[in-house]
Amino acid sequence: MTKTIAHLTDFSFSYAGSGTKAIQEINLAIKEGELIGVIGPSGAGKSTLGYALSGFIPHFFTGDLSGNQQLFGQETSQTPLSELAGRTGMVVQNPFNQISGARYTVREEVAFGLENLGTDRKLMDKRVNETLERFKLASLRDRSPYELSGGQQQRLALASILAMEPDLLILDEPTSQLDPAGAEEVFESVHTLTETSSTTVVLISHKLEWLAEVADRILVLVAGRIRGQGPPREILTQPDLEPWGIGSTQYTRAARLASSAADTSQPALPVTLDQAVGFFKPWI
């Protein structure tokens, strides 16, 4: 029976000074090692959900909350951010804002979190080197973080948190401010992450093809409420995602077009490349 890492029960939250609820009546349990994708139109409350899962609500963002919040088996409200330090982390959109500024080189920047945790120097050195290798930052180790490209900086932000081996990682639209090459670098890094560690991940993104590839479950959030959750192939092929401004993967679109053109009944529509290959194979 896998551990539940984070749990929200009937949870609602509105930011201080705001009358409207940013998220409402959320019931969600996230198990250890899962990668949950979160999709929805802008303003749906995806970031807020990320904050509520990881403890940034209520400790960093104040407001009115109701319902229950649990993280690592404890009441989130009873566990201050300083105790959660190193166990939960968040990667945000802007790569530049995540450079701490307190260190001169990439290598030291990766060590920054470990230094704050009081990690022994020998262990720290080892972890830093491993992390640099894992996220292909080793050749940049002596450069200033400010000299890096957007994609490299975002990878650095990811690496710097993962060096601490957190239990929960939230990625809030990590590629939205990057060019396609930079976004690709980040996709690769997240793949590496899923393959080499058991960190539980919540990935908020518009990149449906990517989510279809890596997510165990996808959550649809609209106007602060969960409208659906399930495996990618189930969620992303639903027709009623359209009115909420959520598109579909290129594979699904191609398959839909092909099916209607061929006027055949549709087996399950694909959402990833592999599935698309399987879908089209009988016709070739």
Partner: protein
């Protein structure tokens, strides 16, 4: 430039000293600048000790250039203002209703020499010390780690900010903002440049703070460091001696 720094890398014995020791050297130099009742002693100290230290640090030439650059405006202003307005008895030459006096020159000399020694002490320290190493050394001695963040981050984002300021200046000029002309015109140009620049940088605060929290920044407890700053018992004793010497010199003048 990646960060704001006047640090000149080197491998001289001066560079290799612990940053706190170099801080103590600077304290002693400042003490000498404002201690010593007689300004001629300050000159002696400058020539004998301060310059030797600069040479020991392998930085004599840039050091002298920096000293000259910084003291020049003071030198000029002082010799003019004190010379003409101090009001001594020995007139060197008159100029209209004003008299240039010897006493004025002496006072100007006194101030100039002291300011020079103070600038020299600071330059010695700044040229030979990496700012992040200084903060690390302070952290080891009990300064909160937030202090290191504050100082080092400030120095790294100032150049970023200057670039932003330059970009905004150019963008507004391209939009037709008048930045030359009479005083009122230039004053009016100020608000549309400054307010958006500041608002833009304040919006980033939440993301930056979240990033820091994600690196366990607010976790209490002792901090470790990846890089090692060398220190020794000898240096510790030396530091106390230097600071004591500086203080004694100032007390001497006060008496």
């Amino acid at each position: 430039m990646a960060q704001l720094s006047l640090y000149r890398p080197g491998s001289s014995p001066l560079h290799k000293l612990n940053p706190l020791t170099k801080l103590a050297v600077m304290a002693c130099c400042l003490g000498a600048a404002f201690g010593f009742p007689n300004p001629y002693w300050v000159v002696g100290f400058y020539l004998l000790f301060t310059l030797s230290l600069a040479a020991w640090g392998g930085m004599l030439k840039p050091f002298l250039v920096q000293n000259a650059k910084l003291i020049l405006p003071f030198f000029l202003s002082l010799f003019i203002i004190q010379g003409f307005f101090y009001g001594g008895a020995t007139v060197l030459f008159p100029l209209g209703p004003f008299s240039y006096t010897l006493e004025g020159v002496e006072v100007a000399f006194g101030f100039t020499v002291r300011i020079l020694q103070a600038i020299a002490g600071m330059t010695l320290f700044i040229f030979s010390t990496r700012p992040d190493h200084l903060m690390l050394a302070l952290q080891k001695h009990g300064f909160p780690h937030q202090a290191m963040y504050l100082v080092v981050t400030t120095m790294q984002i100032i150049p970023q900010f200057q670039n932003k300021a330059l970009a905004i200046l150019e963008a507004q000029q391209a939009r037709g903002l008048e930045t030359q002309g009479n005083l009122i015109v230039r004053l009016k140009a100020l608000f549309p440049m400054v307010v958006p620049m500041i608002l833009g940088s304040l919006i980033d605060i939440d993301e930056r703070a979240i990033a820091l929290e994600s690196r366990a920044f607010s976790k209490p407890g002792p901090k470790t460091s990846l890089i090692e700053i060398p220190d020794s018992e000898t240096q510790k004793i030396l530091r106390w001696c230097l600071v004591a010497a500086g203080l004694l010199l100032v007390v001497w003048r006060a008496l």
